[in-house]
């Protein structure tokens, strides 16, 4: 078994992906926890569907799942592995840093697809919300685009904060703020003309823009100028957070 040549990128990625997916599978209890809130929303908001429409409920449900995946799943796993020196051990192997991160991100993108599928299935079977084929396809796309906002926000948090416990506390706080400010804010404030300014802030926040593109994607016929602007804003949020997250990120905690 002698080799001193650089391994092929495809072999490295395949190996890293197998390990990362195995790790994710063994952490399935944590994965299930990230799915709980979206499922609760789907079930408890069933009466709202008649008033707000299916896409509103489904998009809120997916957004919260995306936030949980990007913040709690991704950030915490990166913070833990960095703290334990797992990345340092990988980095002394003849592999590029980007392949380590690519594997991690691909696992999270797969989680986003699974989450979106779960919401579609439960939304269809429990809430009787059915989308067009185009709606399903576009929503997978918008879910991935939206998911990158929270993944890059998670990257930013884990780039700025080194201690894994502090990362965990911070992402929980941000998650809570998104639930309160985003989901409840949209329900209570955005609809009320008295709070127009606050409503606009929520609407164009990383929560609001992602929810807007998801909802618009579910009903492509209603895709409007606001949805296009929200898509641009979403891409902008993702780009800014990713830039800062990569810039700040250190591979070790020293």
């Amino acid at each position: 078994m002698e080799t001193s040549s650089i391994p092929q990128t495809s072999t490295v990625l395949k190996t890293l992906l197998r390990a990362d997916f195995t790790t994710q599978w063994r952490n399935r209890r944590a994965v299930i926890l990230t799915l709980i809130v979206p499922v609760i929303i789907l079930m408890t908001w069933k009466p709202l569907i008649k008033i707000t429409g299916g896409p509103f409920v489904l998009s809120n449900s997916i957004v919260l799942g995306l936030i949980a995946t990007g913040l709690m799943g991704y950030s915490n796993s990166i913070a833990r592995d960095r703290d334990k020196g797992i990345f340092q051990r990988l980095r002394v192997a003849p592999i590029s840093a980007w392949s380590i991160m690519t594997s991690r991100i691909l696992v999270q993108l797969t989680m986003i697809v699974i989450l979106t599928t779960a919401v579609f299935v439960i939304g269809n079977s429990y809430d009787q919300v059915t989308l067009t084929a185009g709606g399903y396809i576009i929503t997978y796309f918008t879910a991935i685009v939206g998911g990158t906002v929270y993944l890059s926000l998670g990257q930013m948090i884990v780039g700025r904060i080194k201690n894994p416990e502090t990362v965990n506390a911070t992402v929980r706080l941000v998650y809570f703020l998104f639930i309160m400010g985003g989901m409840l804010g949209e329900l209570l404030v955005v609809q009320d003309p008295k709070y127009k300014m606050l409503g606009d802030i929520i609407k164009w926040s990383p929560y609001g823009t992602v929810r807007m593109i998801l909802a618009a994607g579910m009903d492509p016929a209603k895709w409007n100028n606001d949805a296009s602007m929200a898509l641009l804003a979403t891409i902008g949020y993702a780009a800014i957070c990713a830039f800062l997250g990569i810039k700040w990120f250190k591979w070790n905690t020293k």
Binding site: M1, S5, P7, K84, L90
Partner: protein, 257 residues
């Protein structure tokens, strides 16, 4: 770089902000030798090793591994290196056999599960293949870690304080494994606090203090060279001069944090 050198470090300097951890350090490791880097806490041993491993970028100097410039061709250099970090950790969710599979893959070693089980049998850990790394004892973890460091048959193995926390039996066993690596024709660069270890396994040693190399020689030559120094005699405890006496005389008695 001399033909028989597997590693050459020239004028290496590493800084953390205003703190100069490594200053103009030069040494080489020859093929088939065990080279020890000795120094008190914070002397710059791990920083030197980290620069060789490519984990940090030096402010100045050159590092050549197996003919490759480690700064401009880090992947080529790393392919020739086997590394055991001071505190190695693997994904806690993975079984030992899966960790081996992962590192065989990232080093581009085509190894079947049977071959990996054979490796675990060699280190008496076949029964632990389906255990998680964290469930192993300290000695078992060291064996797994060392086997991973050498899974691709590297020309140079870097071991950062490999025997820290091991009981005497495990330490002796590890020394034998390190010597076995040399017998297979590979070079070893290790850092250690243990003078006993340096005397027992190292062909040559470098003493590093305050980021500078202050002596390089074989352990015996170093003892012989400093045997009559008044500072060495003053710190000697049992009449017989040891490497530890020389080390303390050269680096001072003050405890480092």
């Amino acid at each position: 770089m001399k033909a028989d050198n597997i590693l050459t470090v020239e004028g290496l300097s590493v800084s953390y902000g205003n703190f100069n951890a490594v200053q103009n350090v030069s040494f080489d490791v020859r093929k088939g030798e065990i080279f020890g880097l000795l120094g008190p806490n914070g002397a710059g041993k791990t920083s030197t090793l980290s620069a060789v491993e490519g984990l940090l970028k030096p402010q100045a100097g050159a590092i050549t591994v197996d003919g490759y410039d480690a700064l401009s061709k880090p992947l080529h250099a790393r392919a020739s290196l086997g590394v055991q970090l001071q505190s190695t950790s693997f994904q806690p969710e993975l079984y030992v056999i899966e960790v081996l599979q992962l590192y065989a893959g990232v080093y581009g070693v085509p190894a079947s599960k049977d071959q990996l089980m054979g490796i675990l049998r060699e280190i008496n850990l076949a029964d632990s293949a389906m255990k998680k790394y964290g469930e192993l004892s300290g000695g078992q973890q060291q064996r797994v870690s060392l086997v991973i460091a050498t899974i691709h048959n590297p020309k140079l193995v870097l071991l950062d304080e490999p025997t820290t926390g091991l009981d005497p039996q495990s330490r002796r066993q590890l020394w034998e494994r390190i010597e076995a690596i040399r017998e297979r024709g590979h070079a070893v660069l290790l850092t250690t606090h243990s003078m006993e270890e340096a005397e027992a396994v190292c062909d040559r040693i470098a003493i590093i203090d305050h980021g500078k190399v202050i002596a390089i020689d074989t352990p015996q030559n170093m003892i012989d060279k400093h045997r009559d120094d008044p500072e060495v005699i003053a710190v000697s405890r049992r009449g017989k001069i040891t490497l530890e006496d020389v080390f303390i005389a050269l680096t001072g008695k003050a405890v480092r944090e």
